[in-house]
C-alpha cells in the first residue's frame, strides 16, 4: 500500500499516540519473552527478571524509540500538509474551470477592484502623501499673504522686504510664471517659462545637469540676462549638445545666456516648464501688483512657529511704508507646507475616487462571498461525505479556502495587470487633474496595499463560505442533503445580509454619481452670457525688444486689427487681457466714493478686464445703460472711465443706478476718480461654477501681450489659417498661441467634473450590476429551494399572482432595506463632497429619490426571472419528484 493512494486522513495519529504505541510494543515484546522463558521452565517472577535482563536498558530504549517515532511523525505531517495543499489547489482549479461564469465574474470584478484601488491609491500617494522630491523637503514652505479665504502671492516689494529682513530661513526664493517667445532666427514659438529669483534652485536643492545655477550677479542690472533651460528644451532646441551652457538664445527678442541645463527628472514645480530666467524685478514704485510665489527653506523644521511669528512681524513693520498704495491691514503673512501647496485642492476628488474604488472592491468581495456560499451550499453533501470519511473540520475549511485563495490569486494577477496599465494611463492622462503624476509608480506602498487587498479578499470571500461549509453536524447534513433542503437558516441569513450590504454600499455610490451628474448638467446649462459659437481666441505676445519705439506697440495692434477685419469669414476683432470662461488675469481692488472702506476693512475686489471698444460687440454683450468705452477713454493717461456689468451694479448699488458712480482703483489714493460710464450684461470669466459677482471692464491700451478674440461667420477652424497667416505677415516673431474657440475652452473647463462623474458613475454602475447579480443569485436559489413549498401552495389553490407577489416581496424587502441604509449613509457622506457640487445640494431630494427608484426598478428586473420561474412551478411535477 503506497502512501499516496491511502485516504490521507487515515494516516493521522492522535497526539500522544506515539508514546503509547512504543509502550505497547515493548510490553508485547517482554510478554512474549516471558512466555518463552516460562516455556523453558522458569517461574513467572524469574522469567520476568530474566526477560528484563536480556532486554538491556529499557528506559533509554523507550525514550530513544519515542524520539525517533516523533521525528518521523513530524516529517510525515509536513509532507502530507504540502501534498494536501497541492491536491486542494488542483481539485479547486478543476472545480473552478467547470463553472466559468462564476469564476470569470469573481476574477474580473475583484480584479477590477484591486487594480483600480491600487491605481488611485498610487496617484493619491504621489499627489498628497509622498514627500516632495527635493532635498530635505520637510523644511520647504510656501510664504503668502493671508486674507482668508484667499492666499495671495507676493509683490516685488513684499519679496524684497522678506529677503532683506528674514532670519528664520536659510534662504527664500520667488518665482512668477511667464510665457516668452523663443526664436531660433526663422520662426518663433511661445514657450512656458518662469522668472525666478537667483536663489530658486538653491532653495529647492536642484543641481543642474550642465553648467551652473544662478548667482546674485544674474539679477544685477548691467550683467547679461541669464536663463536655465529644461532637459527637453535642451534636447529639442539646443540639439542636446554638451557645450550648450554659455550659448546665447533669443527670448522675447532679448539675448539670454544659457547658464545651465536641468536634469531630466525635476520636481513638480519644474514640470512642464521650458526655461527659467533670472529675475530683473527692479525697484517697485508701489506695493502691488502681486504675482510672485514665494518659497522658503526653514533653518530647521522645529522653527516653524518662530518663522511664522517673524513673517507676521515683518509684514507689520512694512505695512506703514506702503500705506499710500495698500490699505488692507487685516492681511498677514503666513507659511504653509510646500507639499500642501503643490497638492492644491485635489484632496476631495482624490478621497472620493479612492473611496469609490475601495467600495467597488468591497462589493465585489461581498458578491464573490455570496456566490461562493451558494456554491458551498450546493456542495454540502460532497463536503459531508468528506467529513464522514474522516476529514477534519480544519481540513475541509482548508480545502474551501484553497478555492478562495486561487480566486484571490487570479484576481490579484488581474489587478496587478490593470494597475500596471492604469498607472501608465494616469501618468499620461492624469496630469490634467492631479499634481505630481510623473511620480506615480507601483511602489512599495502600492504593492503593500495590493497584498493587503489580496489577503483581505481571501478572508472576505473565503472564510465565510468555508466556515459555513463545515457548520452543522455531519450526520444532519448527510440526512438533509438527500432531501431537497432549504439550506440552514444561518446560511440564508448570511446571504441576505451580504446582498443587503451590497445594496447599502452601491446606493451611496449611485447617489454620489447622481449628484456629480446633476452638477455637470447644471454646469453645462450655465448661461455664459453671450453667444459662444464661432468665437475664436488666441494669445499674442510681442517680443519687447522689437517694439522699443514709442507708439510701435499700439501701431502693431491697430494694424493687426485692420488687417484681421479684412480676412474673409471674420466679422469682428477685439483684444482683451482675459477670456471666458475662466481666464481672467487680473483682480483689482477699489474704494467706492459712496461707501468708502473704513479702517480695518478690506476694499472690495472684482475681476478686471482690459478690453478694446469692439470687445462688447464681438462678444455680443448688450449695453443696458450709459455708453461703452471708446478710443478716447483709452488714450487718457489715467483710468477715468470703466464699464461694469449688471452683477457689479447690483452688488454695490442694489437700490439705484450705478451709472455715474465713482471710485479710486488699485489702492491709489492720489489718482483721479474713476467713473462708471456704462452697464452691460454679465459674462463668465472666473469659471462656470462661480456666481456672477461683478466684472469691471477698463479701456485697453497697448501692451505686449493680449488675447485676440475673433467673431467669425464661418466655422472658426476654416478661418484660423488665414488669421495665423495675417499675424505672421505682420510680425513672424509674434506667434498666435493657445488657440481655442470659446466652445472648446468651455468644454475644457468641464473636463475635470466630466471625468470625475464618468469615473464615479462607471464604478457606481459596476457596483449596481454586482448587487443585481447578488439579488438574482439569492432569489434564484430561494425559488429553487422552495419549489416544493410553492408547489404545495399552488396545489392547495394559491393563485399564481400570490406566488409572484410573495417571491418578489421577499427579494424587494431585502433590496429596499439595504437601499435605505445606503441612503442614510449617503446623507452623511455627500456632505464631504459639497465642494465638488454645483447647482445642487449635497442632500438633493430629487437625486436621492431618483436613486431609490432606479435601484428598486433594476432590482425588480433582477427578481423577475426567479419570480417567473416560481410561478411556472407545476405542483404535480414537484410533488411527484418527492
Amino acid at each position: 500500500m503506497s502512501e499516496a493512494r491511502k485516504p490521507l486522513w487515515y494516516l493521522r495519529r492522535r497526539p500522544g499516540s506515539v508514546a503509547s504505541e512504543v509502550d505497547e510494543e515493548l510490553a508485547t515484546h517482554l510478554q512474549m519473552r516471558v512466555e518463552e522463558l516460562m516455556g523453558r521452565g522458569l517461574r513467572a517472577d524469574e522469567a520476568r527478571r530474566e526477560a528484563l535482563r536480556q532486554f538491556g536498558d529499557l528506559e533509554f530504549t523507550r525514550r530513544y524509540c519515542r524520539t525517533e517515532d516523533q521525528r518521523k511523525e513530524t516529517h510525515v505531517q509536513r509532507g502530507l500538509f504540502v501534498e494536501e495543499l497541492w491536491q486542494d489547489l488542483r481539485i479547486s482549479l478543476r472545480g473552478l474551470i467547470r463553472v466559468p461564469m462564476l469564476t470569470l465574474t469573481i476574477l474580473m470584478t475583484v480584479g477590477l477592484g484591486i487594480g483600480a484601488t491600487t491605481v488611485i491609491f498610487s496617484a493619491v500617494d504621489a499627489a498628497l502623501l509622498r514627500p516632495l522630491p527635493y532635498a530635505d523637503p520637510g523644511r520647504l514652505v510656501r510664504i503668502y499673504t493671508d486674507t482668508p479665504p484667499f492666499k495671495f502671492p507676493f509683490s516685488v516689494a513684499d519679496y524684497q522686504t522678506l529677503e532683506a529682513q528674514q532670519t528664520r530661513f536659510t534662504q527664500v526664493a520667488g518665482y512668477q510664471n511667464r510665457s516668452m517667445a523663443y526664436s531660433d532666427g526663422v520662426s518663433a514659438e511661445l514657450l512656458r517659462g518662469r522668472v525666478v529669483s537667483w536663489t530658486y534652485f538653491d532653495v529647492l536643492g536642484l543641481k543642474p545637469l550642465l553648467g551652473r545655477t544662478f548667482t546674485s550677479a544674474d539679477s544685477q542690472p548691467g550683467n547679461p540676462l541669464a536663463v536655465i533651460v529644461s532637459y527637453s528644451f535642451w534636447q529639442q532646441r539646443l540639439g542636446g549638445r554638451r557645450d550648450a551652457a554659455g550659448q546665447t538664445i533669443k527670448l522675447d527678442g532679448n539675448d539670454y545666456v544659457v547658464a545651465g541645463v536641468l536634469p531630466q527628472t525635476v520636481g513638480p514645480l519644474e514640470q512642464r516648464q521650458d526655461f527659467f530666467a533670472a529675475e530683473r524685478w527692479g525697484t517697485p514704485p508701489r506695493k502691488g501688483p502681486f504675482f510672485i510665489t514665494a518659497l522658503g527653506r526653514l533653518r530647521s523644521e522645529t522653527e516653524r512657529p518662530l518663522a511664522a511669528d517673524e513673517l507676521r512681524a515683518i509684514n507689520r513693520r512694512m505695512f506703514p511704508l506702503w500705506k499710500v498704495s495698500y490699505q488692507d491691514d487685516k492681511a498677514t503673512w503666513s507659511a504653509m507646507d510646500l507639499r500642501e501647496y503643490v497638492a492644491g485642492d485635489v484632496g476631495t476628488i482624490a478621497g472620493l475616487s479612492l473611496a469609490a474604488v475601495a467600495l467597488v472592491w468591497l462589493i465585489a468581495c461581498a458578491n464573490a462571498s455570496n456566490l461562493l456560499i451558494a456554491r458551498v451550499t450546493s456542495r454540502r453533501r460532497e463536503l459531508s461525505v468528506r467529513a464522514a470519511l474522516g476529514a477534519s473540520r480544519g481540513r475541509v475549511v482548508r480545502y474551501l479556502l484553497a478555492e478562495s485563495a486561487l480566486l484571490a490569486a487570479g484576481a490579484s494577477a488581474i489587478g496587478i495587470a490593470l494597475a500596471w496599465a492604469g498607472i501608465r494611463l494616469v501618468r499620461v492622462a492624469g496630469a490634467e487633474y492631479l499634481p505630481r503624476t510623473q511620480e506615480i509608480v507601483l511602489g512599495r506602498p502600492s504593492l503593500a496595499l495590493m497584498a493587503v487587498m489580496a489577503v483581505g479578499s481571501v478572508l472576505l470571500f473565503g472564510l465565510i463560505p468555508a466556515v459555513h461549509g463545515t457548520g452543522g453536524s455531519v450526520d444532519e447534513s448527510l440526512r438533509s442533503a438527500t432531501r431537497s433542503a432549504t439550506g440552514s437558516p444561518a446560511v440564508r441569513r448570511l446571504r441576505r445580509l451580504l446582498v443587503g450590504s451590497q445594496f447599502a454600499i452601491a446606493t451611496p455610490l449611485l447617489v454620489v454619481a447622481g449628484l456629480l451628474l446633476v452638477s455637470l448638467s447644471a454646469l453645462q446649462r450655465v448661461d455664459l452670457g453671450f453667444d459662444s459659437r464661432n468665437l475664436l481666441t488666441g494669445s499674442i505676445r510681442l517680443p519687447p525688444a522689437g517694439y522699443q519705439q514709442p507708439g510701435s506697440v499700439q501701431g502693431f495692434w491697430d494694424e493687426l486689427q485692420r488687417r484681421l477685419q479684412a480676412v474673409p469669414g471674420v466679422s469682428g476683432v477685439a483684444f482683451a487681457d482675459g477670456r471666458p470662461p475662466n481666464e481672467v488675469n487680473n483682480f483689482n481692488n477699489f474704494d467706492l466714493e459712496d461707501f468708502p472702506a473704513g479702517p480695518g476693512q478690506s476694499q472690495p475686489v472684482s475681476p478686471w478686464l482690459a478690453v478694446t471698444p469692439e470687445f462688447f460687440h464681438v462678444m455680443g454683450l448688450s449695453l443696458l445703460q450709459g455708453r461703452l468705452i471708446d478710443e478716447r477713454d483709452a488714450q487718457r493717461p489715467n483710468l477715468e472711465a470703466v464699464v461694469v456689468d449688471r452683477a457689479w451694479a447690483r452688488r454695490f448699488f442694489p437700490n439705484g443706478s450705478a451709472l455715474g458712480k465713482r471710485f479710486k482703483e488699485g489702492g491709489c489714493t492720489t489718482c483721479p476718480w474713476t467713473e462708471v460710464v456704462g452697464i452691460v450684461s454679465e459674462a463668465k470669466y472666473v469659471g462656470l461654477d462661480k456666481p456672477d459677482e461683478g466684472t469691471v471692464y477698463a479701456p485697453w491700451s497697448g501692451s505686449f501681450s493680449r488675447f485676440l478674440v475673433v467673431r467669425t461667420t464661418a466655422p472658426p477652424a476654416s478661418v484660423l489659417p488665414a488669421v495665423q497667416r495675417t499675424i505672421r505677415e505682420l510680425d513672424a516673431s509674434a506667434p498666435l498661441s493657445s488657440v481655442a474657440t470659446i466652445d472648446e475652452l468651455v468644454a475644457r473647463s468641464l473636463q475635470t467634473p466630466r471625468s470625475l462623474s464618468a469615473l464615479i458613475g462607471g464604478f457606481a454602475v459596476v457596483a449596481l450590476t454586482l448587487s443585481m447579480i447578488g439579488i438574482y443569485g439569492v432569489m434564484a436559489y430561494y425559488v429553487q429551494q422552495h419549489s416544493k413549498d410553492i408547489g404545495i401552495r399552488l396545489a392547495l389553490g394559491a393563485a399564481r399572482s400570490d406566488v409572484l407577489r410573495h417571491v418578489v416581496g421577499q427579494g424587494m424587502t431585502l433590496v429596499a432595506s439595504g437601499t435605505v441604509v445606503g441612503l442614510l449613509t449617503a446623507i452623511v457622506a455627500t456632505r464631504l463632497m459639497a465642494s465638488l457640487l454645483f447647482g445642487v445640494g449635497a442632500i438633493d431630494p430629487a437625486t436621492f429619490a431618483g436613486v431609490f427608484v432606479l435601484v428598486l426598478v433594476v432590482a425588480l428586473l433582477a427578481c423577475a426571472g426567479p419570480a417567473a420561474r416560481a410561478t411556472a412551478v407545476q405542483p404535480a411535477t414537484v410533488l411527484r419528484n418527492e
Binding site: 508485547t28 512474549m32 519473552r33 532486554f55 538491556g56 524509540c65 525517533e68 517515532d69
Partner: protein, 110 residues
C-alpha cells in the same frame, strides 16, 4: 571456536535487521529470535539495541511499521522492508563483503 558471543560492530545490526526482514513482515520479537537462530547465538544482540535499530530504520523510511494481529492473536507491531530498505541492504551487503574480503586477504595464511 572461542567461547561466548561476539560483540556487535557498529552499524552491523541495521544490516542484519534489514536482511531478516527480507523474509517478510515481522515483529521485533520475531526479528530478535531469527537473528539469534541464524547466528547460533554467536552475535550478542541486545533486545534494546534491536528496538532502537527498528525505530531508527522506520524513521529513515527503510522499513514501515504497522499494527497487526500476531500468530497467537496479540496486537503486535509488524515491520516490512520498503523499497528504499531493500536498496540499502544491497549496498550495505556489497560493502560488507568487500570489507570482509579485504580483511580476509590480509589475514590469509595465519
Amino acid at each position: 571456536m572461542a567461547s561466548g558471543p561476539l560483540p556487535l560492530m557498529q552499524g552491523t545490526l541495521d544490516v542484519l535487521v534489514l536482511r531478516v526482514l527480507t523474509q517478510g513482515p515481522m515483529h521485533g520479537y520475531g526479528v530478535a529470535t531469527l537473528i539469534h537462530e541464524r547466528t547460533d547465538g554467536d552475535l550478542a544482540v541486545e533486545d534494546a539495541a534491536l528496538y532502537q535499530a527498528l525505530h531508527r530504520l522506520d524513521r529513515q523510511g527503510l522499513v514501515e511499521a504497522e499494527w497487526a494481529p500476531s500468530e497467537n492473536n496479540r496486537r503486535a507491531r509488524y515491520y516490512t522492508l520498503t523499497r528504499a530498505g531493500r536498496r540499502r541492504l544491497r549496498e550495505e551487503a556489497a560493502n560488507w563483503r568487500r570489507y570482509s574480503r579485504a580483511v580476509e586477504a590480509v589475514l590469509e595464511g595465519i
